[in-house]
Amino acid sequence: MTTDVVLQARGLTKHYGHVVALDNCDFDLRAGEILAVIGDNGAGKSTLIKALTGAVVPDAGEIRLRGEPVTFRSALDARRAGIETVYQELGVAPALDITQNLYLGREQRRKGILGTVFRKLDKPAMRRGSARQMADLGIRVQSIRQKVDTLSGGQRQAVAVARVAAWATSVVIMDEPTAALGVRETNQVLRLIERVRENGLPVVLISHNMPNVFEVADRIHIHRLGRRIAVVEPGRTTMEEAVAVMTGAKQPEDLA
């Protein structure tokens, strides 16, 4: 059934000159799951994510959100549909504080004449909102007024995750969110990703780190040469098998 599929793509294709970054690619994300996307460098994972989030317009194929066909012409279109993304490059402004980062581009103004004429920000409301959001996700910081450059790498990434989780209403997508982090910080971010799922949002996690993927993912989308060649579950497939399929050493049909 497709009823519990939140985000679905069929036949996505994207050419860059002679390079086929996406080759008739399918994609399914179910409600309440963490779906990992794994694949070799250059397999087309980032392009798939960009196509799903409007950052790239595919040459062909269709995307459905909760069964409804959608066309995203820009990242803003996807955000309006409730799809939020943590991009591979760290998406925070270090000189701004945590609250300013959470509300960046979506600042709230005061009610009444202060807001309409004098454009005054409602800082207390935004601070309350960000304190609530950080508490909901169990992110501990000294103060939500801290500038992000006073945070550790893991806390910074946590702020980036908190922002997308705060605004997403349909899907949270993360492209290699732990790539730049140490072991302890990676674990913090993984707990955070699980927390986002517990709070009811499905998560797409692109990662190179097999142990991480097998630890948190409910299902694993294996990407190879621009398309999905298999979907496996951590309980039923071993890490070695998944890597073998990913690199072409093993055919997906040969999986147990």
Partner: protein
């Protein structure tokens, strides 16, 4: 939990409001330096600490101080404006020339138009064509310096309109004149300070200067923000031109030739980072005062004015070093 307690606490703090914002860590250093300089000159000279001299210091700071407000906006976006002095000078000679017909109000508006057109030019080249601000404004500086002389045939225009020199006058309180120019400078600082710290536009200016790619990913229209900054700065430069006509009632195409660098000095001493995203206009106001206080105080102390340049230079290096320390404290 603890986070929510925090939030309650923070809200209370916020009621202390604008004063606290003004005295935030970024202005504390410059303010301490200013107070220190004032204390030292007051203690070591007889002629420094009196209302007349302090009023003079404010008046001497006004033109560069106002230019520096616009410069602050540009530097906050990790840009730099080498052309601001030249824009102001061209505006003032255009005003001076047109005012000879007697339509002084129209002349002033024409000066504003000159500033806006040039701000738009800088802004479009930087925002739309992604050219480096240093090069763009260096080019504009070069062209305008020549243009001002060609336009005036290297003459200067005496200004005899009371309206155009009005900013040099003002109410006298206890024998000391507080000029409208100084009040305008403080007013502009307050307005820009409000816009930078209390509006979404301000947050976006900081974000664009700090991390333009992250800003763009959150949906901020980076080019539009940059353009708005160069245009706002241009309006500020027009006010500086008006103030300059009050300070010296001649529109001289070769005047204020180092005002661009002086404005950068004020911004940097005021604690704004040349790398963008950190700082503010209150610091810049203090920075401009520091430079004037050094010049004035050393003169009162009978010390060669060359040492004023030495002292200013040392302060610039200290300010940049502090900024470097702040920016790298947590980078691993």
């Amino acid at each position: 939990m603890t986070q929510l307690d925090d939030a309650v606490l923070l809200e209370k703090e916020d009621r202390a409001g604008p004063l606290r914002a003004a005295l935030s860590s970024q202005t504390a250093g410059p303010l301490a330096a200013l107070v220190l300089a004032v204390v030292i000159f007051s203690a070591t000279t007889d002629s420094f600490l009196n209302a007349g001299n302090l009023s003079l210091i404010a008046q001497q700071s006004v033109v560069v101080g106002t230019l520096a407000l616009g410069q602050t906006l540009v530097i906050l976006t990790a840009g730099i404006d080498l052309s601001n002095g030249a824009i102001m000078v061209l505006a003032s000679v255009v005003i001076g020339n047109l005012a000879t017909d007697g339509n002084v109000f129209g002349a002033l508006l024409a000066g504003l138009a000159v500033c806006l057109v040039l701000g738009l030019l800088n802004g479009v080249l930087v925002a739309q064509f992604s050219l480096p601000p240093f090069i763009v404004t260096l080019g504009v500086l070069s062209v305008l310096t020549a243009a001002a002389r060609l336009y005036t045939d290297s003459q200067s225009y005496p200004i005899d309109s009371a309206f155009l020199t009005a900013l040099n006058g003002g109410p006298t309180v206890g024998g000391v004149t507080i000029t409208y120019g100084v009040l305008l400078w403080i007013g502009l600082t307050a307005i820009l300070g409000y816009a930078l710290t209390q509006t979404a536009w301000g947050v976006r200016v900081y974000a664009v200067g700090d991390n333009p790619r992250a800003a763009a990913l959150t949906g901020i229209k980076v080019k539009r923000v940059l353009l708005s900054v160069y245009l706002t700065a241009a309006v500020v430069y027009a006010f500086a031109a008006w103030q300059a006509l009050g300070r010296t009632p001649t529109a001289d195409p070769s005047g204020y030739s180092t005002a661009n660098l002086d404005s950068i000095t004020a911004v940097v001493i005021g604690g704004t980072s040349l790398f963008g995203g950190r700082g503010g206009v209150v610091g810049t106001l203090i920075g401009a005062l520091i430079v004037t206080v050094l010049a004035n105080g050393l003169t009162q102390a009978g010390i060669d004015s060359l040492y004023q340049q030495v002292a200013t230079g040392i302060l610039v290096v200290i300010a940049v070093a502090v900024d470097h320390f702040v920016r790298t404290r947590q980078t691993r």
